[in-house]
Amino acid sequence: MAKVLYNKRVLAFPYTEDFGAGGYYKLGIRWEDLPPIEPGQFIMLRIAKQIDPLLRRPFGVYKILGHGACPHTKNFGMGACLPVRGRTQTGGKGPGIEILYRVVGRGTRLMTDLKPGDSVDVLGPLGNSFPLEIRSQEVIMVAGGIGIVPFYMLAGKLKKARLLFGGRSKDDLPALEDFKKLKIDMEVSTDDGSVGEKGLVTGLLLKRLSKNSVVYACGSKGMLKEVARIAEGADIPCYVSLDNAMACGIGACLGCAVKVKGQGARGKGQEKQTSELIYKMVCKDGPVFDAREIEWEEI
């Protein structure tokens, strides 16, 4: 059983009607025999020992926590120094992972009660990761709010990368400080202009896009749809990390289906008459997909 190292609020996302009083938290989890984890992969976390909530919840891995004794830091080949915090009650250090999560519902609300030393049940790492072979091109990472999660590890793996990070307001840009410390170009936008440029993150993208770009995006479905449309228009590669509700996380339940375009048929709305399956599983075939593969009309 993995153990909680720390769990703390990093940003008080203000009350909104659709999600109530949320907030962003960082959860450190000690994980012995930590397997290799690639940027974009996720875990399925079981929160309660009780049956409510029943199912595990998917979370991206935000950081890998190092082996070094605290409060020393260790460079983990990711261009980032990773101090391990919250040792007070467990004497905890690495190995482990850090989850960055946003409180949106029952499960994440319950997660805020986790305390150092508590046991948690982690299944993973799961899913695919962002393709890295395109390293030579100019990489643009586009993140919306909690969609920032995969990009901390990804930034560490890329030679040259630019981050465009958008949120509703300054309270919707979690872990901004972490990225300031990384040596990457970063631009920020907020809907209300409370920090960075006023407007949508896709506005930043339109400005930065070049023929040489490759776009990696993670965020709301609406944002991803727009990013994919922009990339398609500019005819540049685009990879998106999708977020569907999941039950098993390992391709068994067929619950996290996303509609993809068939090989012969890329046109919109065409009925597939082939025996080829038109649904892929976000958990197993994703969460990262080539944006051109997705039937965006059905998202």
């Binding site: 509700a245 098993c248 619950g255």
Partner: protein
């Protein structure tokens, strides 16, 4: 003798087994069960649709520890399934509207079955059709395939000839489709019943009369979920099937009713999360059980339940798990 089977047909009790301090006092209980001629090393199976084709779970648990794997429901041709969202959590349960997506019986035999055959566990193939002919076609193909221990017919499937009425909600349709399939297979035939009926015993009798060798129950309860803010259904298909601990009381009741009505061996399904749950199903009349939704919560739950049943028998001095079946004290 059950112990022989436990050690496996291929003679390998392989895999991660909890080491137990051997207790010379306590007899090793016989955990084997026989369902319509299928000899199982233990009474634990994984339920159709919740365990993929076995290979998805193989990295996370030891398939050799299972009595049987029941694979995702197969149809003659591949099926695309329903539009997403397909799952939503509910109180102590979940709704799914997968819509019977599957690779089709041919691809199963070619690409999925060879993997499963490598393990020392029985393979039970769940299948369905939307016409009687379809059912029979699938059964015919499976009947001549090696490495299949039995068939499980999912009759919670709408019949297009009967105005999309579900086979499993009408005794007449149940009788017709089961007797038709019966003619095309000599494999043990398990009929899986729908709970969305007024009286499960009527359907159970129809299936028995039509030649079923065993019954498994229950499939999911029909249900729905709505988002109060968007005012939209939470499932793409609007309606889905309810599974998980929430439905256990309904499932237990139906197994008990079926047990009192038909002589066939029963397989209990519905909300089993622990060995205690599994034992409750056996007490009301199930000879074996299937684990569905719980696999999602804990990929190793089926093995833990198999261990738990053994522990229960040992502690309660039950020499053979069979003794539990239908032992309810009323």
């Amino acid at each position: 003798m059950g112990r022989d089977l436990k050690m496996g047909v291929r003679g390998q009790g392989s895999g991660v087994r909890k080491t137990k301090t051997p207790n010379p006092e306590s007899r090793i209980p016989d955990l084997s069960v026989n369902i319509a001629g299928i000899q199982l090393k233990n009474s634990v199976m994984t339920a159709s649709g919740t365990f993929g084709y076995g290979e998805e779970y193989a990295p996370y648990m030891n398939l050799n520890r299972l009595g049987a794997v029941v694979v995702k429901g197969l149809s003659l041709k591949p099926r695309q399934g329903n539009p997403p969202p397909r799952i939503v959590e509910t109180a102590a349960g979940m709704l799914n509207s997968i819509g019977l997506q599957n690779v089709g019986v041919e691809a199963f035999i070619e690409k999925k079955l060879p993997f499963l055959r490598k393990f020392d566990t029985k393979v039970i193939v769940n299948f369905f059709g939307d016409s009687i002919d379809d059912y029979c076609e699938v059964a015919k193909v499976l009947d001549t395939t090696d490495g299949i221990a039995g068939l499980e017919m999912n009759i919670s499937c709408p019949n297009k000839q009967a105005g999309w009425l579900e086979f499993g909600t009408n005794p007449d349709l149940t009788f017709r489709v089961v007797s038709a399939v019966r003619r095309f297979t000599k494999l043990p035939l398990i009929v899986k019943l729908s709970p969305n009926v007024m009286d499960i015993t009527v359907i159970a009798k129809a299936a028995a009369d039509a030649g079923a060798d065993a019954l498994s129950l229950i499939n999911t309860l029909s249900g729905m979920a709505v988002d109060a803010y968007t005012r939209r259904p939470k499932l793409g298909n609007i309606i889905g099937g309810l599974s998980g601990p929430a439905i256990k009381p309904v499932a237990l009741k139906m197994v008990w009713q079926a047990f009192k009505t038909v002589k066939l061996p029963l397989i209990g399904i519905g909300g089993i999360m622990t060995a205690e749950d599994a034992i409750e199903f056996m007490i009301v009349g199930a000879s074996a059980i299937q684990i569905g939704t719980a696999n999602f919560v804990d990929p190793q739950v089926s093995v833990k339940i198999a261990d738990g049943i053994e522990e229960y028998c040992q502690k309660n001095k039950i020499a053979a798990v069979k003794e539990l079946v239908g032992s309810l004290r009323v």
